[in-house]
């Protein structure tokens, strides 16, 4: 327990996967225009990160290490994660229409996002146990969700703000994200 809490808090604040590590910028800027999709995307990303952490940890420990084929980890992780997400999406689509409406369409979009893959590579590099990997994934997903919710609230206001014509839309969103990232690093870096 005394290792899990630091991992969890670190992934949300000072090692935030999108604001500090710059992974997963595509869905971050793509879905952050409104609050509703932002929340759905955050939940979908958390779910996929946990599934991916579990599956890749199993593959890594029981297949890659056993057969000494560590160099194949990129290909195998992509294969396994996309298959699992496909199965999860199929199951959700056919069993629970409300849940599907909430986050179904985002699942195929983030299947092999660099955030998901990057997280699994982090798990390998830090040599986490299964439980630590799960907490890592959970923290990263929640960190992504928080950053996304903050960003969507900012962008809703930026839509009606007086922005120069050439900066409207994505450029000013990037600058907003930069400022948000600076806040995250300096505030939380000082506290944690």
């Amino acid at each position: 327990m005394n290792e899990l809490m630091p991992i969890f808090i670190r992934m949300i604040t000072t090692s935030n996967i999108v604001l500090v590590m710059y992974l997963g910028l595509c869905p971050f800027f793509g879905v952050s225009k409104k609050l509703g999709p932002a929340i759905s995307m955050g939940i979908a990303v958390t779910l996929v990160m946990i599934i991916a952490s579990v599956a890749t940890w199993l593959i890594h420990d029981y297949i890659l290490m056993q057969f000494d084929v560590m160099y194949m980890y990129i290909v195998l992780f992509i294969l396994v994660i996309s298959s699992l997400v496909q199965m999860v999406e199929m199951t959700i689509k056919r069993t629970n229409a409300t849940l599907f409406n909430a986050l179904g369409i985002y699942l195929p979009l983030i299947t092999t996002n660099c955030a998901i893959l990057g997280l699994t590579f982090l798990n390998i590099r830090e040599e986490y146990t299964m439980l630590q990997s799960i907490v890592n994934g959970l923290g990263a997903g929640i960190g992504f969700g928080i950053a996304l919710i903050l960003m969507s609230s900012i962008r809703v206001k930026l839509e009606i703000a007086d922005v120069p014509k050439s900066m409207r839309g994505l450029p000013i969103a990037y600058i907003g994200a930069t400022i948000l990232a600076l806040i995250f690093v300096f505030t939380f870096g000082g506290i944690v």
Partner: protein, 295 residues
């Protein structure tokens, strides 16, 4: 080497079998999504986004599951279909019939269909030899283009590049772009591309098109900049009145005609009378070579 192949193949096969098993085992029919799936098969499946929804599946969902407390409209199916129609679907008559049968509604294609219209014949005098970056947006940065009229189409093809239907052509002689109205499905992807905002989505039932975007600066009429600019002579307005049709009204502020496409009978008098040929016959706009004028 062998182990690599075995491991990769093994895991790939395992994943494939698992997906197949899940596909077969998990019950196929979900309450509520059957209708959506049915509509989804009728839709083009291009996910072009012209209707405003992120994918064809999302559009199908919007049609079949209207929100009861929608803030705009009464929440019925027809509202989504009329407010944001699927442009590609409307081109295909069979699909329209299938959709009508599936939903139990009738669609008025000519009222819903849209076409893109360029409000420029581009015949303005060329005042410099443009040697910059070959995009319209680049040319527009330089004093609004290399032609005398600041609203002239520069013909460098930003809109051509985004058209999914290949409906836009560059007319090399005149250095403008021309839209082939037969191929255009009104998706509107070309509209944000034009830096001078020359393209407009008009209903496909439009008959007469006004082909100049010039806004008089310091009272210099459009005629000064281009041979096809409006001279504000009001002959079109008078000709329509004399015919008794009254389809053209005169906007006094902008000094331009306003055409009521429903009342227009396409008699052609206004086009005949217009000296600078600013008014064009929209229904004849199919041949790419001879722009949209009816000489």
């Amino acid at each position: 080497m062998v182990i690599t192949i075995l491991v990769l193949t093994g895991i790939g096969l395992f994943a494939a079998v698992l997906i197949y098993v899940v596909n077969v085992v998990v019950p196929h029919k979900v309450m509520g999504l059957e209708k959506t799936e049915e509509i989804n098969t009728i839709l083009p499946g291009m996910n072009c986004g012209a209707c405003g929804y992120p994918s064809c599946f999302a559009y199908a969902q919007a049609i079949t599951e209207p929100k009861a407390l929608s803030c705009c409209g009464t929440g019925k199916d027809e509202d989504v279909l009329t407010k944001s129609p699927c442009a590609t679907l409307l081109e295909d008559e069979e699909s329209v019939k299938e959709l009508e049968k599936a939903l139990g509604v009738t669609l008025d294609v000519s009222a819903l269909g849209k076409k893109a219209l360029i409000h420029c014949t581009g015949d303005s005098e060329v005042i410099c030899d443009y040697a910059g970056i070959e995009t319209c947006k680049g040319a527009a940065q330089l004093l609004s283009g290399y032609k005398k009229c600041p609203w002239a189409c520069s013909g460098l093809g930003d809109c051509v590049r985004v058209c999914l239907q290949d409906a836009i052509f560059i007319d090399e002689e005149k250095d403008i772009v021309v839209i082939d109205q037969e191929k255009c499905n009104g998706c509107g992807l070309c509209i944000p591309e034009c830096p001078l905002d020359l393209i407009e989505l008009v209903p496909s039932g439009t008959k007469i098109s006004f082909l100049c975007s010039y806004e008089p600066i310091r009272d210099i009429p459009g005629r000064e900049k281009c041979a096809y600019g409006c001279t504000h002579c009001r002959k079109c307005f008078k000709a329509c009145e004399e015919e008794g049709i009254h389809a053209i009204e005169w906007d006094k502020e902008k000094a331009l005609p306003i055409i009521d496409q429903d009342k227009c009978t396409l008699c052609g008098k206004c086009i005949e009378v217009c000296e600078p040929n600013t008014l064009g016959d929209f229904t004849k706009a199919n041949k790419p070579k001879v722009a949209v004028l009816s000489h």
